[in-house]
């Protein structure tokens, strides 16, 4: 074997990757040739030099950055899937969802959907303008009015005219930019959900918390005369003429009665209420305001699957990401999720299995809540009077304050529950 040939094999020789015969020949040559032996020694030394290199460790925050980007992609993908799915079948898709939700055959749901379309048509003629049937535009106008009035945070997607601009949502600029598309997409989805629920003649799903949400939901709710009666309980005076006028124009598909009620509902929002500030009642600052539409929502989800263990884990992962776990029993997971994240949680769960059934229930607690708020206002007035009158200082004041605190706790609890959705996920095995 010549030096030239040996050079070709040196690398494999030091890695012990040569055939036995070639290795024998190379070894024999190396014994005789000092030049090739020197090359081999250098190569071996270089191999040890590489081993001398210290290990490099990635910075601690790198994994978080990666996972944060993955989460963003996951959410985008999830929303895109839903949108693609929804776009495929239009009203038949809505009908299918309604049928699923109320557990009726699809053709019945189609009938309900057709009735809805007819109702909208009639209402349009009655209301006197095609622009009135545009639910999304209407809610946009409302949120824009609110935005102008309240001068609150201007979210990027407000500019797009999102009906669900969440004015409480304060995040960093970067986060806002990342969330922009997600949120705007979610808004579209939420609109769809609301319309679907209306089709099914079920209660309105309150996907969004915050006052903006309750006002915008009036547009859907207004066609339901039963629900519109709750708006009459509002008592706060005053609203700028501009808002009132705009609202009258913006009412959607309302009957004349509900239109009036709806106007009253929005008109009853005082400037302070719109800004999220406490109201004044006879000179006393009230801690809480009455609500027009306070719902406590829950949803029961049945997942029929042949991979119960895997699906439980998937739901648990979603809970870990978006909600607070309450209980886990055999085949059932119970958790609460913020209404803000409700839509995305539902969509993620719906992608887990082919057979996922949802049953939503909503309890209207507006009356109980407003009753408690009125009681609280009275107690706060009593307290103010007691403070003015030095004679009543002492036991009476303590008693009133204790009652106030108790009422505040109950009211806060109502508020908290109205901002969340209780989700019960039940797994049904296909193998049974």
């Amino acid at each position: 074997m010549k030096c030239q040939d040996v050079c070709k094999y040196l690398s494999e020789y030091i890695d012990d990757e040569l055939d036995v015969k070639i290795k024998k020949d190379v070894s024999a040559h190396l014994l005789a040739c000092s030049s090739c032996r020197a090359q081999l020694e250098q190569m071996k030394r270089i191999k040890t030099v590489f081993l001398e290199l210290p290990e490099v460790s990635p910075p601690n925050e790198l994994k978080d950055k990666i996972m944060s980007r993955v989460r963003d992609i996951q959410e985008h993908d999830c929303i895109r899937d839903i949108q693609e799915h929804d776009c495929k079948s239009g009203i038949s898709r809505i009908a299918a969802k309604v049928a699923n939700a109320v557990r009726t055959p699809w053709y019945k749901a189609v009938t309900v959907a057709a009735m809805f379309v007819m109702t909208i048509g009639i209402a349009t003629l009655w209301g006197g303008g095609i622009e009135n049937i545009n639910i999304i535009d209407d809610t946009i106008k409302r949120s824009e009015i609110l935005k102008e009035d309240t001068h609150t945070i201007e979210n990027a997607y407000d500019e797009k005219g999102s009906a669900f601009s969440n004015q409480n949502d304060v995040s960093t600029d970067k986060q806002q930019a990342n969330d922009k598309d997600i949120n705007s997409n979610m808004d579209v989805k939420d609109e769809g959900l609301r319309v679907e629920k209306k089709l099914g003649n079920t209660d309105t799903v309150q996907v969004k918390s915050s006052k903006t949400s309750s006002v915008s939901n009036d547009s859907v709710k207004a066609t339901n005369n039963e629900n519109s009666s709750t708006s009459n309980q509002l008592h706060s005076p005053g609203l700028g003429a501009e808002t009132q006028a705009s609202d009258n124009q913006a009412t959607v598909g309302d009957t004349p009665n509900s239109q009036a009620t709806d106007s009253a509902a929005v008109a009853s929002k005082t400037d302070s209420e719109l800004q999220g500030l406490p109201e004044y009642h006879n000179g006393v600052v009230s801690s809480y305001s009455v609500e027009t539409n306070l719902l406590i929502s829950s949803v029961r989800i049945e997942i029929t699957t042949d991979d119960i263990e895997g699906d439980i884990q998937r739901v648990m992962d979603i809970v870990a990401q978006y909600g607070d776990l309450l209980t886990v029993t055999e085949g059932t997971i119970q958790f609460v999720v913020d209404k803000k994240s409700y839509s995305i949680v539902l969509s993620k769960i719906s992608l887990i299995s082919e057979e996922v059934d949802f049953k939503q229930t909503h309890k209207d607690v507006t009356q109980e809540y407003n009753c408690l708020v009125n009681q609280l206002n009275e107690k706060e007035q009593q307290r103010a009077e007691a403070l003015k009158s030095k004679d009543q200082l002492g036991e009476d004041l303590k008693k009133i304050e204790a009652e106030i605190n108790e009422l505040k706790t109950i009211i806060s609890n109502y508020q908290k529950r109205s901002e969340e959705v209780e989700v019960i996920v039940e797994f049904i095995s296909l193998q049974k």
């Binding site: 191999k47 590489f50 001398e52 490099v56 990635p58």
Partner: protein, 200 residues
Amino acid sequence: MSSVDDFKLVKKAQSGDYKAFEELVNRYESKVYTVAYRFFGNHEDACDLTQEVFIKIYKSLKNFRGDSNFMTWVYHITANACRDELRKRKNKKVVSLDEEFKDDITLLASIPDSALLPDDEIERKELCEQVQRCLNMMSDEYRLILIMREIQGLSYDEIASTMECSLGTVKSRLNRARASFRKKFSALVEPKSNLSRQNK
């Protein structure tokens, strides 16, 4: 989850399991980062590339059929990401690594013997810098194959799978890469080595 093998984790991650993917990141983050660091020679680029690699992995996870080992698939994506990034930079005409090296050649330290001297730590550090400089001077393919073999310890078969080439190509390319590295390394260290010998 550490006892679960890669394949199961990949399956879970493919079905949208976030935690499973996180576990895969835990397992391979360091490997990808090391390759990227040795390829570019700095932490900043290594961080950026590692992020890009895992995003690519996440996006193309659905296409991973399990025909090859997940580890080699990760290395394959990493190697491609390194090449792509370098190609982009070449188009942008960034600073030439060779030129940088030429300026620094007189400052390089001597090659150490196996028995380390008292100031061995300094020499060791300098040696590491030289190794990195030599790597930077090599072509992408030589650099990658040396990193995969010498630093990551991949077998010839794994390298063939990672680099998508035949076993024969791996053998010949590795031999040439080692020979090239040896020449560069000798060129760097010999003058200084001779100088220190003369001083003694």
